[in-house]
């Protein structure tokens, strides 16, 4: 069954077609990778899915529901979480606070009851905390729990961003270059997290990634983009050896 479907989506910035008539669907429980040279429109697709950009045409469906018109702040509540290419954590808050912010879309208590801290608020806070602790245990972040993000090393921040997305309890997780800035071991570690997320938590993953080793390691299917158009879609090996993909990366006669 397809969990997410993009139907002929396109977006133009002025004269540039950043994404041009792209269609794909993502099956439940798979890791779907998007690759392509710089400027191919990979991150733009993420920004379209998380509704930061409005597509010029085409529709987006999540669980057979049209989400093309839904405002950005409601996407998390539907069960779509994302990370960012250049880490967008809340730098002057602790790791725990960051994870708790990830729980925001699950909070149900009203403004006034929060201001006077009713028992219901306390109960809900404890539930959020428990969920956050589950994520901390899952990713092994215990020792950084009360550390400010600004004081954490880059590799840990990458994992924290993953954790914050997991706190949303998403059905679909969008990972924007999870390996960027990581060394070889950290990248491999990231690969293991992604496999665990898929197998143990049953979360479907769409990943934008440059590192072909990581892509081959975790992906079920790969889509290659160039100049906003799909040039290949299939298993990692199929796509990697596709003549169009080779040409896009290495160049060659037209």
């Amino acid at each position: 069954m397809s969990l997410f479907r993009a139907d002929d989506i396109a977006i133009r910035f002025g004269g540039i077609r950043a994404v041009d008539a792209v269609s794909f669907d993502v099956n439940e429980g798979e890791v779907f990778s998007i690759i392509g040279p710089n400027g191919a429109g990979k991150t733009t697709i993420f920004n379209l899915i998380s509704r930061i950009y409005q597509p010029s045409s085409g529709r987006l469906y999540f669980q057979d529901r049209d989400i093309t018109e839904i405002p950005a702040y409601r996407i998390a509540g539907l069960g779509i979480a994302r990370t960012f290419q250049n880490i967008e954590l809340f730098a002057n808050a602790t790791l725990l606070q960051n994870l708790l912010i990830g729980r925001h879309c699950h909070s149900t208590v009203g403004v006034l009851s929060q201001l006077v801290f009713l028992p219901a608020v306390r109960r809900e806070e404890l539930q959020h905390r428990e969920k956050a602790e589950e994520v901390i245990a899952f990713l092994g972040l215990e020792r950084y729990r009360d550390t400010l993000i600004a004081n954490l090393p880059y590799g840990v921040r990458k994992v924290v961003e993953l954790g914050r997305a997991l706190c949303i309890e998403p059905k679909l997780l969008l990972l924007d270059e999870p390996s960027s800035g990581l060394n070889v071991e950290e990248t491999e570690g990231m690969g293991f997290w992604i496999e665990d997320i898929k197998k143990d938590l049953g979360i479907t993953v769409i990943m934008v990634e440059h590192d072909m080793n990581l892509v081959r390691m975790v992906s079920d299917r790969v889509m290659a983009l160039n100049y906003g158009k799909v040039i290949a879609l299939g298993t990692p090996d199929e796509v990697q050896n596709h003549p169009e993909v080779v040409r896009a990366y290495i160049g060659g006669e037209g």
Binding site: S50, F84, F90, I101, L115, A150
Partner: protein, 358 residues
């Protein structure tokens, strides 16, 4: 050194970290309640002023320190609260009603200014709120049918359950009570999803949005709460000065509020108290030493504002954590004594992102 063993998630939710905290806060309250029996009226009056500014500082801190929205219009909120309080009292409304109404009415203006400024941040927001401040200031001056214009507006002495609230003691206790309530509300706010959403907006709007935070709603909320609290401070301010002049609520007052949060320490409620103490007591200190300064510095006009500016620059350059940040470092030093090393508690310098322009 005290080691905190955490055995329960509830320990991270309570307002005090351990029994020691509870004891010291309790002692502080007792001392503050007894001070009027010890100190002279002058100092009680000054302390009352500190409390009033601390309340306004909390309003500013929630907006600037926690949501990252710099406002130069908070003096206008203070003025709206002050005039509301005075006018309502003059019409015979009791204090228990006027005080919350002054806050709520100002809160409405907070929403009003919050809505159009939603798309702005950084300098642009500062300019927009500055404009709002000067518009409100002009209204205070020109609308003399209501505000009395430049003739000023005498603030009636309020009654609280049949007792007149007057003199330094009355203002002292009333302001202390309001300050404690406001601090309690703010501390609650900061440990719930509301406060975390504000922090999220401060640090990264784009990911706040992706976490399910409705930017417009929470920014407006921050303005509303800030205005509400500053309105309460305005009501207290009215009783503190006893006679409202329209030019009291100018941009310099707003800058004082900004100074409170920066010098005290951005992003901490403790910082507000330190900042308010600094802003209110520095002028007194200058007055005391004025005559002893060499080269006639003491008689130079503009000594006070320039000193404020100088301290603000020094703090931003050398201690972005403000007085509270310095206090934490000193505490760490004593707790670790004699094992403290230069690098023990070094933190990467990180500034709140409110200055980021987009």
């Amino acid at each position: 050194m005290r080691y905190l063993f955490k055995t329960d998630y509830r320990q991270d939710i309570t307002l005090w970290r351990h029994r020691g905290d509870l004891f010291w806060y309790g002692l502080l309250i007792v001392v503050l309640l007894l001070i009027p029996y010890v100190l002279s009226e002058f100092y009680i009056g000054e302390l009352g002023g500190v409390f009033v500014f601390a309340v306004a500082g909390v309003g500013m801190m929630l907006l600037a320190g926690y949501t990252g929205l710099i406002s130069l219009g908070n003096a206008a909120f203070l003025g709206i609260g002050a005039y509301t309080e005075a006018i309502l009292l003059a019409h015979g409304v009791p204090l228990v009603v006027t005080l919350p109404v002054a806050g709520l009415f100002t809160g409405l203006f907070g929403i009003l200014i919050g809505l159009p400024t939603l798309r702005m941040s950084g300098l642009y927001l500062a300019i927009a709120t500055l404009a709002f401040g000067s518009i409100v200031g002009t209204v205070f001056q020109k609308w003399d049918a209501v505000t009395g214009g430049f003739d000023g507006f005498p603030v009636p002495t309020p009654d609280l359950f049949g007792m007149p609230v007057q003199g330094a003691n009355g203002i002292y206790y009333l302001s202390l009570f309001v300050l404690v309530v406001v601090l309690w509300l703010s501390a609650n706010l900061l440990r719930t999803p509301l406060g975390r959403a504000m922090v999220a907006i401060r640090d990264s709007e784009i990911s706040a949005q992706s976490m399910g935070i409705h930017l417009a709603r929470y920014k407006t909320f921050a303005f509303a709460v800030s205005a509400f609290i500053t309105g309460l401070a305005g009501a207290l301010f009215a009783h503190y000065v006893r006679y409202l002049a329209p030019d009291a609520f100018d941009v310099l007052l707003s800058v004082q509020f900004v100074t409170i949060v920066f010098v005290g320490g951005l992003g901490s409620l403790h910082g507000v108290i330190f900042g308010a103490l600094f802003v209110r007591l520095l002028p007194q200190f200058i007055a005391i030493i004025r005559d002893d300064l060499p080269f006639g510095i003491g008689r130079m006009p503009g000594l006070e504002p320039s000193l404020f500016g100088f301290v603000l620059v020094i703090v931003i350059l050398f201690e972005p954590g403000g007085i509270y940040g310095r206090w934490i470092k000193m505490k760490n030093w004593f707790q670790a004594y004699p094992l403290k090393r230069r690098t023990s508690f070094r933190r990467q310098k990180s500034y709140a992102r409110s200055e980021r322009l987009r």
